[in-house]
Amino acid sequence: MKRVLEHAVRWLLTASGFVTSAVILLIIGFLFTEGAGLFREHVIEEGYVLALNRDNPVKEMSAAEIKAVFDEDIVSWKDLGWKDIPVETFRLEDIGRYFTEAELGPQYEHAGSAIAGLVSSHPGMIAFVPESMIPQEAGLNFIEDSTISFSEVIAGPEWFPTATPAPLFGMWPLLAGTLWVSLFAILIALPFGISIAVYMAEVASEKVRNFLKPVIELLNGIPSVVYGFFGLIVIVPMLQRVFGLPVGESGLAGSLVLAIMALPTIVTVAEDAMRNCPRSLREASLALGATKWQTISKVVIPSSMSGIASGVVLGIGRAVGETMAVLMVTGNAAVVPTTILEPLRTIPATIAAELGEAPAGGAHYQSLFLLGVILFFITFFINLCVEFISSRGKVRNS
């Protein structure tokens, strides 16, 4: 009976281990398949074409050029490699401006030929219309549609996922924003975190430590949206006053909030590492005549370096993946940051803000999954660093 029970428990443990691993791998696989779909999508919205007049020799336009044309930033075909004719844009919604309902027919059966005629008679017109509407023999030119390219996504400077006719999925501003805000967060959190950890491990009395430790760990339990709220109401106006900024929502506000959020992780892990410093090392140092401060700075901190470093890296991991607090205080402007005092937009905030309305399976949806993949690689790399650092420490200490 007892052996059967033991067997059962062993099976249960094995099964739960395998099931968990399988689920994690499935989630990652799902993330990758959804994200990779973006590169199979076309630049121009599915099922639509950009029709041009027959005389127009322009064959290819990048997504950025299409956006500039429909935003009326490019107003002449000369900029696109043709002669100096003004660009006229046409969207299906504009059809009421050119034709009456009667001309289009009760079931809109004449709409296609009407649009084809319109484009034929306007040499500078570019029309964004469904492919199925344009009759075969219309004799129009079309912009050649290519798939979204990898370099345009990774290095593209503009993030306009809902622009029509051609959305722009430049992820560089988001990636740079994420790294930038995390870098400053860790620069702020590091000195504070280490000094608190040293104080708690070496200086503070037992009583003070017993009070401080739960309080700092309490910081971990505050929901991130509360931090975001605090940041928006307190930190943002404060930064505005202190630095005389035109706008308080900035990378620095995000970094400060993230630094506060990363502190407990850094403090707890670093403090544990210092307290685990072998008693023999400490006593040897004191026996050699070193003062308490010399012991701390020359013996305790170097010997627990790997623990401190893993605390720091875990703190970075927390900062990189944080969503809600950052969404509320950084202003979410998708521009490549040049200073920390300007608004910026991070990857997690983008996913959280946009996934709700992105139509499932569309290019926007897939681009958000691709952002998830990028975020996964960043945190994966950080975790590898933790593994590496702590394994090195173990070898040295033993």
């Binding site: 429909f70 919604e93 079931q107 809109y108 306009f160 106006p237 035109p246 979410n332």
Partner: protein, 288 residues
Amino acid sequence: MNRRHLFISFFAAICLYPQAEAQRIKGSDTLLPLTQELAEEYLDSHPDEEIIVTGGGSGVGIAALPENTTDIAMASRRIRFSEKMKFADLGLDVREVIVAYDALAVVVNPSNPVDSLTREQLEAIFRGKVTNWKEVGGDDCRIVVYSRETSSGTYEFFKESVLENKNYMSSILSMPATGAIIQSVRQTRGAIGYIGLAYLNRYVKPLAVSYDGGSHYAYPSVGTAASGQYPIVRPLYYYYDPRKEAEVSSFISFALSPEGQESVLEQGFIPVRMESPAEARQMDASEE
């Protein structure tokens, strides 16, 4: 028929009956709270009916109509030409009813001396062509432009109406909620943003807007929006298949009744029928 059979058929009837009769309403999240409120009130007086209201966005609601997964589609925009084409392809027709209007107010910090802007100026500001308040008659101060996230229907409507379908500038600050826009505009001197009329409060200053190049300016209020003087107004629609008219007409006529329009006003929207201009003024006064 024994008692067990009787019980089973009775049970089945209870299970099936409400589902067969339930009206399904789906679509715009802007209209969702209003429609839920209307449905609740409607059910108070029609306790034997059932209404299921779900959100998902205007596009989702309209796409559900031809698939017959909804009876009424809520939409915060007019049905698109391409969507109408889809209906025409299937040989279907669609009826539209305006249940309420929603106005967007353009707001600035109360310390800003600028009182009014034209649509062209607003477009230039939100597209990043004008970046300093002194270019539109204010102080020498950078313009900080706040917008909603791309997922919001308000974002789309403002883009359509004020920017004429052009894109916002890329360095625009996008906030996750209307409350966050109000908070930011309140604490930032050079700020400008847009919010629903119902959210206006004393911490932000609404601007008068002109769509005719500066000849007529109007401040946002329930009165000016209802009378058509204030331009940034969008109708909110219900769409339905005319073949189902008999089933849905009862609820729709309730929504348009004085009682239904009362809750339209309570939810911060503009009623479809304003009885008289005097009443509108009275409403404005009571709002302040």
